[in-house]
């Protein structure tokens, strides 16, 4: 268990860093950026995986497995679909360079 204060500190630092980096993105790329961010929000799959995994190892019952696996499926759709869609969009921007 990591101390809550560390977790909150990480949250604040990353939010500030992200805010300033994203400010540099031109509006031309806002849709791919948003879609990329959208894919990133699927990292919650990490949480879904550990919760489901540990739940099974500590015998928490089948209901937690159903909820956990559903969470994994949803997050995986988000991650894989999000990055895929972003990639397709960016390729459209790129192809006319050549």
């Amino acid at each position: 268990m990591i101390h809550p204060l560390i977790l909150v500190a990480v949250f604040v630092v990353c939010a500030v860093l992200g805010y300033f980096i994203i400010r540099n993105v031109p509006s031309l790329l806002h849709t791919p950026l948003m879609s990329g961010m959208n894919a990133l929000s699927g990292v919650t799959i990490v949480g879904a995986l550990s919760a489901t995994g540990i739940a099974l190892l500590s015998h928490c019952g089948w209901l937690s497995q159903v909820a956990g696996c559903l969470a994994i499926v949803l997050a995986a759709v988000n991650v894989f679909g999000g990055f895929g869609v972003t990639h397709r969009m960016l390729m459209m921007f790129k192809k006319k360079r050549h």
């Binding site: 991650v79 869609v85 459209m92």
Partner: protein, 504 residues
């Protein structure tokens, strides 16, 4: 163990940030996206190893099913469906975070070591609070995104839906959600979990149905931000640094985009969340239910009158246009210059203004062909992109990119607004509110004060819109009735553009 996890997570978070910063330039954007994806996959692998759950069989089929669905949808979806796809994916992420919160709120998903640490440090309140918060924010994201996707996919009505006592209910659900979450700090009860789940869902539904089509860019970026925040909070609940870090980055970025969109529309976030027309909404909040019903009837009547007025106005406009066209036809005998095609043929500097109508008509290819044709005649062609044109941030850019328009030709509003006065002709394709000059001086209308493209400064304006009806904001566009230099090519943009090209 914890120290290693923190270090590795921080490094991965930095990689993600690097990937995002590479997305600020077209050249490196593809690599940036790839880098972020690799960082997330590494994060997944690290989690599996650190939690010693590689051997857990149930997670593998779940990952594979999700990955397959996601990849297939990503490959199959049409570019026109991008806004609703993004909204849908977004909602799923929020739903997943809510489920994680649901599990950790019940103490599921912690091993005995972690549970002992939580007990020792006295962190039970923190875990319960963050778990419930993840459930709340996650469910708002899920339900809100599903409604937004439904509206964008035209399964639900595009117009804002206002139910009985709407503002009151919205506020009530929000307060109840917050109440359940805060109570979770002090004690555990499955009722609190259920309460958070239900009230947050209701709040998501109530706030999202009220958002109209044109406010979608703002809503989508806000929901995007929320899904990140939901993930970060779920990460706090289960004490996963990587999840907290990336969630925070997404949350901040979504908030920034929301801010940019709001500024571009000259609207405050609150006015969009709490109701379409700000003045009515603040009143609504203070009214009792009875009064509200009365107001609703009056509003319905008012709406009907407005509709009738719009109808009459529309007819009047049509008559005006037809008379104008008859006048023009008479004049054509003496000079050839007065047709839209004639204007374009003579123009050396053309600016194209696309809007949501171009997306609806799928006319981006015709727009591109027209631009090519003009360029082959030696004209300079540029595109002026209003920040909120379309239904999601950067919507026009993606569509034009799909039609192979070089992004060097795309200009943001501030970069091109002074050039309208200097160009020879402007072609408007399916845009209305973003160029409505009334935004500068029609006080009291929803678009008053919104920065618009200075299309009215151009000497010749060719408008390829479906009709002359006011746009989403419901404000008449004085440009349509300008006496000189406006050519209305009404109808499906695909066809009108083709006619225009044929006449060139």
């Amino acid at each position: 163990m914890d120290v290693y996890q923190i270090i590795i997570s921080s490094v991965l978070a930095l990689v993600v940030l690097q990937g995002i910063s590479m997305m600020s330039r077209v050249k490196t954007a593809v690599a940036g996206n790839f880098l972020s994806a690799v960082a997330v996959l590494t994060g997944i692998a690290v989690t599996l190893v650190f939690n010693e759950i590689l051997s857990v069989w149930t997670i593998w089929p779940a990952i594979i099913v999700g990955a397959l669905i996601g990849s297939v949808v990503a490959q199959r979806v049409k570019m026109i469906q991008m806004p609703q796809t993004v909204a849908l994916f977004n909602g799923l992420g929020g739903g997943a975070s809510a489920l994680v919160g649901l599990l950790s709120a019940q103490g599921v998903g912690f091993n005995s070591l972690q549970l002992a640490a939580i007990g020792e440090g006295g962190f039970e309140g923190f875990v319960r609070f963050t778990s419930l918060l993840a459930v709340g924010v996650g469910m708002i994201t899920l339900v809100g995104s599903l409604v937004a996707a439904g509206k964008l996919h035209r399964v639900l009505p595009q117009q804002p839906m206002v139910w009985r006592g709407h503002s009151l209910c919205t506020l009530l659900f929000l307060l109840l959600t917050i109440g359940c979450i805060v109570a979770g700090v002090f004690f555990y009860s499955s009722l609190l979990i259920a309460g958070t789940f239900i009230f947050a869902s209701l709040f998501g539904l109530w706030f999202a149905v009220r958002v109209g089509g044109a406010d979608m860019p703002i809503t989508i970026s806000l929901l995007n931000s929320l899904s990140g925040v939901a993930g970060a909070i779920a990460g706090m609940a289960i004490s996963d640094v990587f999840l907290v870090a990336v969630g925070a980055i997404v949350g901040a970025s979504g908030l920034l985009l929301t801010q940019i969109m709001c500024r571009a529309m000259n609207r405050s976030l609150a006015s969009i969340l709490l109701g379409g027309r700000p003045s009515r909404n603040t009143r609504n909040l203070q009214l009792t239910l009875e009064n509200e019903q009365l107001i609703k009837r009056v509003m319905d009547l008012e709406k009907k009158i407005q509709e009738l007025e719009a109808l009459v106005k529309n007819l009047e406009d049509r008559v005006a246009v037809l008379t104008q066209q008859v006048d023009e036809a008479e004049k054509t005998g003496s000079s050839e210059e007065t047709t839209a095609a004639g204007v374009l043929a003579a123009a050396k500097d053309v600016i194209i203004v696309p809007g949501y109508g171009m997306a609806l008509a799928q006319a981006q290819y015709q727009v591109r062909q027209l631009a090519d044709k003009l360029q082959s005649r030696g004209a300079r062609v540029r595109y002026a992109i209003h920040p909120v044109a379309g239904r999601m941030p950067g919507h026009m850019n993606v569509l034009l990119a799909e039609a192979d328009v070089d992004y060097d030709q795309l200009f943001e509003m501030d970069a091109i607004n002074d050039d309208f006065a200097r160009c020879d002709a402007v072609v408007v394709v399916g845009a209305n509110d973003v160029l409505n000059p009334a935004a500068r001086d029609a006080e009291g209308t929803p678009i008053y004060g919104m920065p618009v493209l200075n299309v009215d400064a151009a000497p010749e304006v060719i408008i390829c819109n479906r009709d002359l009806k006011p746009g989403y904001a419901g404000v008449e566009n004085p440009l349509y009735t300008r006496a000189k230099g406006v050519y209305l090519e009404l109808g499906d943009a695909k066809e009108t553009l083709q006619h225009l090209m044929a006449d060139l």
